[in-house]
């Protein structure tokens, strides 16, 4: 087939998507707009049980009564919700046939990030075939999980295979009434991840490798639900260091975590969504609601996030420390460059006795970006002898970057102990010159200083990612000086 013929075919296929809804019910894309019919179609395409459709409809009805929130420090262009298409299949026609067809700059970034060779093709959207051995990796993985009794599947599959679990736990940590984006997500969520760890099981592997290979493309409105039954443990890693583009600008996911007695969930996120060009155009909006409910006594949920992408990041992974002696942790690195904005932080809600929370937040802002930490630590009347330690540090690079901190403390008993430390520092020209005089080039110097600044958080990441995360920070700081 000639190049010209290829081009013509592609153009024809493109046209098909443009006109949206074709006559057959299984075809690809719904036209833009949100209304009750759209929701019914989504639910029926997924063959969902009645309870789920009803939940979606109630959420939608509630969402319609709400106004988009405007209390953040963020500067957001208004979003036209009627111009978004709420259901689409992944596009096939324009996929590169091999790495040779992929933008060399993108490949260079994969190189800098140290992404394993066999994953680069997948990440670039090249159609994967068995040659890459990814099929056998996945198979071994699935076998091991099945042996342990761990359920790890897409949300849609879980609705089909384990509807009782979905019915029991969905929306119990983030109800659709929680906030504007949670309501929208509940109405139109496309897919996501479901994990259930049975009693006494320590999940035999980090649920990350699998994810990296297979979930390179994510949907706009993802829904994730992870349940760790009594005495169980799981470490889950979402996202990847590779820069991710998407035609969809808004990403409003919801993640719900539940731990029962003595259980632990370790949830790590590495996010490098397209941040927009140097003028701030076209970047992704990452508005996600993440919350963990430490229902069981002595249970633990920890959130670790490395946020380096997106035009706007707006999220507060939080913990409800319900069970006595339960623990919540939040470790975060939020990096903003150029015109990026981040308003992120956490809420630690202490309800049970002797509960503990730890917050380590590292904000790095360069160029003209704005980086805000917002934290709430609340201790209810019954949360006697509870403790919180908060450390929020800001690092500024250049003279135009902004860092803001809004810590909030709300204590309703007299035996709680809270500690709060905050620092603001700058990478000075003198520090850079010192490093350069010792032979270290400017970019590496910034990378080293930032890495040192972030090391307390970096050490919380699963090991394979800690190395990539350092490279990620450095790559995203390119051009930060001058």
């Amino acid at each position: 087939m000639t190049n010209q013929q290829n081009k013509e075919i592609n153009e024809f296929l493109d046209k098909n998507y443009e006109f949206g809804f074709t006559t057959e019910i299984d075809s690809e894309t719904l036209p833009p707009g949100i209304n009750e019919d759209v929701i019914r179609i989504i639910s029926s395409k997924k063959n969902e049980p009645e309870f789920l459709l009803n939940w979606r409809l109630k959420a939608f009805a509630y969402w319609k009564t709400l106004k988009s929130p405007d209390w953040s420090q963020l500067n957001i262009d208004p979003i036209d919700y009627q111009s978004i298409s709420y259901f689409s299949q992944p596009k096939q026609s324009n996929a590169p046939k091999s790495l040779d067809e992929v933008d060399p700059k993108l490949l260079e970034t994969y190189e800098k990030l140290g992404i394993p060779l066999h994953e680069r093709a997948q990440l670039a959207g090249v159609a994967v075939d068995a040659v890459f051995d990814s099929v056998s990796i996945v198979t071994t993985f699935k076998e091991k999980l099945a042996e342990a009794g761990v359920i790890f599947c897409s949300f849609s599959e879980a609705v089909q295979d384990h509807p009782e679990l979905i019915k029991k736990y969905l929306g119990k940590v983030v109800p659709y009434r929680d906030n504007f984006f949670a309501a929208l997500n509940a109405a139109v969520f496309s897919d996501g991840t479901f994990v259930y760890i049975p009693k006494g099981v320590r999940c035999p592997m980090e649920l990350s490798t699998y994810f990296r290979i297979n979930e390179a493309k994510t949907g706009q409105f993802e829904r994730t639900l992870i349940i760790a039954d009594e005495d169980s443990y799981v470490s889950y890693l979402e996202g990847c260091t590779a820069p991710m583009r998407d035609e969809n600008q808004l990403h409003a996911a919801v993640v719900e975590l539940i731990t029962l007695n003595n259980a632990e969930i370790k949830y790590s996120t590495v996010q490098n969504w397209y941040p927009g060009d140097e003028q701030g155009n076209g970047g992704i909006y990452n508005f996600v609601t993440k919350r963990g409910d430490c229902r069981g006594n002595n249970s633990k949920i920890s959130w670790t996030q490395i946020e380096t992408g997106s035009a706007i990041t707006w999220k507060y992974p939080s913990c409800i420390l319900r069970g006595d002696y339960s623990k919540g942790e939040f470790h975060s690195i939020a990096l903003t460059n150029n015109l990026q904005q981040a308003d992120t932080g956490t809420k630690m809600v202490h309800l049970g006795k002797n509960t503990k929370s730890k917050i380590i937040s590292k904000g790095i802002s360069a160029k003209k970006s704005q980086n805000t930490y917002r934290g709430l630590v609340s201790m209810a009347k019954g949360a006697s002898d509870s403790r919180n330690y908060t450390q929020c540090d800001s690092l500024l690079i250049g003279n135009k970057a902004g860092a803001h901190t809004f810590p909030s403390i709300n204590v309703k008993n007299s035996t709680s102990v809270l500690e709060h430390e905050a620092t603001t520092s700058k990478i000075s020209d003198d520090q850079l010159f010192y490093c350069q005089q010792r032979g270290i080039d400017e970019e590496d110097a910034i990378g080293l200083i930032v890495s040192g600044f972030c090391k307390e958080v970096l050490k919380e990441l699963p090991m394979e990612f800690a190395v990539e995360a350092r490279a990620l920070l450095q790559v995203n700081l390119e051009g930060a000086i001058g």
Partner: protein, 255 residues
């Protein structure tokens, strides 16, 4: 002019300005391999400016003249390239870099140099053994290795850290900018001993100082006196002794 392979640093008619003011005025200096040169002179005479200019500090602008390091035109080299080739500046006021450990910092510096010469990274064990031995030599407590670069260091510790870094990097030319200022006698002896231990026929040192006492330990081949951005007299250790007795005015007035 023939290329003299023994010349490490050749400065011809160098004029440098910073912040709108001309500091160096037609400076000439030749440093050969194996030599130790001392530079003395009143404050503002351009000693530190020379050090920073050779190192490539962006605030200093060469308005005329040339500097050649190992027969290469310095103006064509970036700051870190000059370092990789073997140039070391012992800072007058070493800066603190909290969060970046002394160990990680030095390792990155050594590996950057090795990479420049297409060598692989230094093996971790070899690096740590040498690092600990140099720390001992400079009387720096082992605990400092995990602390941030110069973080919370006393003035003396900072200066000793400069020399420790010098010993680890093994430069061809070290420029020590008032390394002895603020040091007590014991620290000064340790520093002097450290510098002496690294002397060789292949490397050279430029010591910028106000005080003769360090020079009694480091015995320079040449002592240059700066004034108004150029060298007004060159001698040896005896010159430094005279300055100690008579002060700079003896020379600057003579001009």
């Amino acid at each position: 002019m023939s290329t003299d392979n023994k010349i490490i640093l050749q400065i011809n008619d160098l004029s440098v300005s910073t912040d709108g003011s001309q500091i160096l005025n037609g400076l000439n200096l030749t440093v050969r391999k194996g030599e130790t040169h001392a530079i003395m002179g009143p404050n503002g005479s351009g000693k530190s400016t020379l050090a920073k200019t050779v190192a490539g500090h962006p605030d200093y602008l060469i308005t005329s003249g040339k500097i050649k390091f190992l027969n290469k035109d310095l103006s064509l080299m970036s700051v870190n390239e000059r370092s990789n080739l073997g140039l070391f500046l012992g800072f007058q006021y070493p800066i603190e870099i909290p969060g970046l450990s002394n160990t990680a910092f030095l390792k990155a510096a050594i590996n950057a140099q090795r990479k420049f010469f297409d060598l692989s990274d230094i093996p971790a064990k070899e690096f740590l053994i040498e690092l600990k031995s140099k720390a001992d030599q400079l009387n720096l407590d082992q605990s400092f290795l995990s602390r941030g670069v110069n973080e919370g260091f006393s003035g003396g510790e900072k200066k000793r850290n400069e020399i420790m870094q010098m010993l680890m990097l093994k430069p061809k030319l070290s420029i020590l900018d008032e390394t002895d200022s603020g040091l007590d006698i014991d620290s000064m002896k340790i520093v002097a001993q450290g510098v002496n231990s690294s002397r060789s026929k292949e490397s050279s040192t430029i010591i910028i100082t106000h005080y003769e006492r360090l020079l009694n330990y480091l015995v320079p081949d040449y002592v240059h006196v700066f004034s108004d951005g150029k060298i007004i007299k060159t001698g040896d250790l005896e010159l430094a002794n005279e300055l100690e007795k008579k002060g700079y005015e003896w020379l600057t007035q003579e001009k």
